[in-house]
């Protein structure tokens, strides 16, 4: 039980001693079958350190989302390794991997994927439910605080259908943060939002990174997001073609 060894509640690993939260080593991934099969990732090496805000950019079909799913433990590479907080994901069984995702990683997707039958607050608390929590007064207070931080303090009990697209996505961001993840992964989080709501989500990410040193990896093909991050990793045809650090990221979109 690798995860139990690595991830017992009392023994969650800190990031590797050198501050590495995420490491990908020579990742390769083929998608499709038969004649339609193609190699989407062709040997990706990537290291993300604690507190970094990384933008993963590239044209459609360059392999950004596929890479994100591999890094988040939602998919397995055909070759190569992914380490999250020092844990080699290939050694972790399926259900333990689910627990690892729960405890170490927060996800924000292009689509919010909120559970329609549950209130905004319940949706935020959902990752806590997965580990048997979410019912204590402290947990609920934390969920409420997160919703307040994303500007939805007055919409705790609203169902997803009663919220706008931007509000739904902000609930999804709060949900991704509720377990205080080491790593926040986002797949085009403003892709479905208008510019005002996109701006709000961006500012939220920026603030999380600045104020709480939240490690963030965002997949985007929006150059404005890229310009605002610490580091921009560009993918083309399944390979990293550029990995640039920005000394002075832009502060607004």
């Amino acid at each position: 039980m690798v995860l139990r060894r690595h991830l017992g509640e009392q023994h969650l690993p800190e990031q590797a001693g050198d501050g590495v939260v995420l490491q990908a080593i020579n990742l390769r991934r083929r998608l499709g079958v038969g004649a339609a099969a193609r190699e989407v990732l062709r040997g990706i090496d990537l290291t993300v350190r604690s507190g970094e805000f990384v933008a993963l950019t590239g044209p459609s079909g360059s392999g950004k989302s596929t890479l994100l799913y591999l890094l988040g433990g939602l998919d397995s590479p055909d070759e190569g390794e992914v380490h999250v907080a020092g844990v080699p994901l290939a050694t972790v069984r399926d259900d333990d991997l689910a627990r690892l995702r729960n405890q170490l990683i927060g996800f924000v997707y292009q689509f919010h994927f909120l559970l329609p039958e549950f209130s905004a607050l319940d949706n935020v608390l959902m990752p806590l439910w997965a580990r048997g929590g979410g019912r204590s007064r402290g947990d609920r207070a934390w969920g409420e605080e997160l919703l307040q931080r994303v500007g939805l303090g007055d919409k705790l009990d609203k169902l997803p259908r009663e919220l706008s697209g931007g509000e739904q996505q902000r609930v999804a961001v709060a949900r991704a943060l509720v377990n205080r993840p080491r790593l926040l992964l986002a797949d085009e989080p403003t892709g479905n939002l208008d510019s005002a709501n996109g701006q709000a989500v961006y500012e939220l990410f920026r603030r999380l990174n600045r104020e709480q040193r939240q490690t963030i990896l965002v997949v985007t093909h929006d150059p404005r997001w890229a310009a605002a991050s610490d580091r921009v990793v560009r993918l083309l045809d399944g390979r990293i073609v550029a990995d640039e650090r920005q000394a002075q990221p832009e502060v607004g979109l």
């Binding site: 596929t66 799913y69 996800f107 039958e117 959902m126 439910w129």
Partner: protein, 422 residues
Amino acid sequence: MTAVARLAWRHLVAAPRPVALTVAGVAVGVAVFIFTVAMMDGLVIFFSQRILRISPTLTVLPERQETSAARLSLQRSAEPDVLVLSRPPVPDQRPTLRGAPGLANQLAALPGVTGVSLAAAAAGVISFGTVPEGAVVLGLDPAAERQVTELWRLVVKGSWDALSARRDGVILGVNLAERLGAQVGDRVLVAGEGGATKELEVVGILAAGVGALDEGTAIVNLPVAQGLAGWGGDEASELRLRTAEFLGLEKLRRRAGELAGYRVDTWQESNRAALQLFRTIGLTTYLLTGFVLVVAGLGIGNRLATMILDKEREIAILRAYGFSRWAVRGVFVLEGLLMGVAGALAGCLVAALVIAYLQAFPIRFAAREGAALAYTELYLANDPRYYLLIAAVAVVIALLAAALAVRRAVRVLPVEVLRGIA
């Protein structure tokens, strides 16, 4: 409430109409099954009660225990469709119980025995005018028989007690009397196997609703039957016993057998064919009705399969956020369980109400005149065990259906769903 329970509950309340339909399907299946069992058991109880009115609970037969044991042993080793019979009596060995009155006294002293009656049954011919009819001439002691069966209640014309009063009286089965054209007060001529004849007066007509009694039996006083058969006064063809209990007679049967040295049958054995028929009908009915429950279970499986298909995105996101396969499986199995339990409870309630109503206001059928065994009303048994057992079966079927349906849910790969939508 745990996360699994909360998710399951919200899924159900979010789709009240299809869930209600599914639950109603289970409820109907459970109610129909309970009602059918109540009806079939009621039928068996109804007929058992009536059989017990006209049959002794234990019957001592003129077959020595040794013979009986040997016959049973042969029967056990024989092919199922081979019937092993005792050796026919040689001419000087009549098939009768010798010393029957003394034996009757001994048996009457057994604890649990409430009445003993001697019977002498032999073939005979009854003639009225120019009409002769073959019949079983059944000799009984009318007073003793009253302690054993309720045949005396089934005399529809004349009276049972007239047989006690008139030594040369005869009570005819209703159909036999009809064929002969004889009425109460008419005199008939009865001839025994050995050629002995006796003129008897019809003192009653018996309508039991049982072919053997109504069609071809003439009840006479015991000495008359013995005389017609050429038997001695201490001989009988059977000893008829009434016991305080109707069930669990094995011990008493064994004691009576040991005491008498003859074969002793319980009333269930004497009426094995009829009871076996009921059991077979019951089993067939249960199997057919059981399909209703299985269909209801399929309804649950179908509902869950649809729900799982609708919720693939949610399942993917739950898995992505750390819900294990077991937790996801648990959500949908719990939904199946809740629907099964709700359906079972509703079905039990409906069945209880319908049964209570039909017990209070029974459906009655027209019966043949005087037929004691006729099924004259929809007789429903009611036992809490029906409800417990059938509800448990329904819940198990619901769980099985859910377990089959959720296989798809746990096969959902979050990345495939999320990639498909992204």
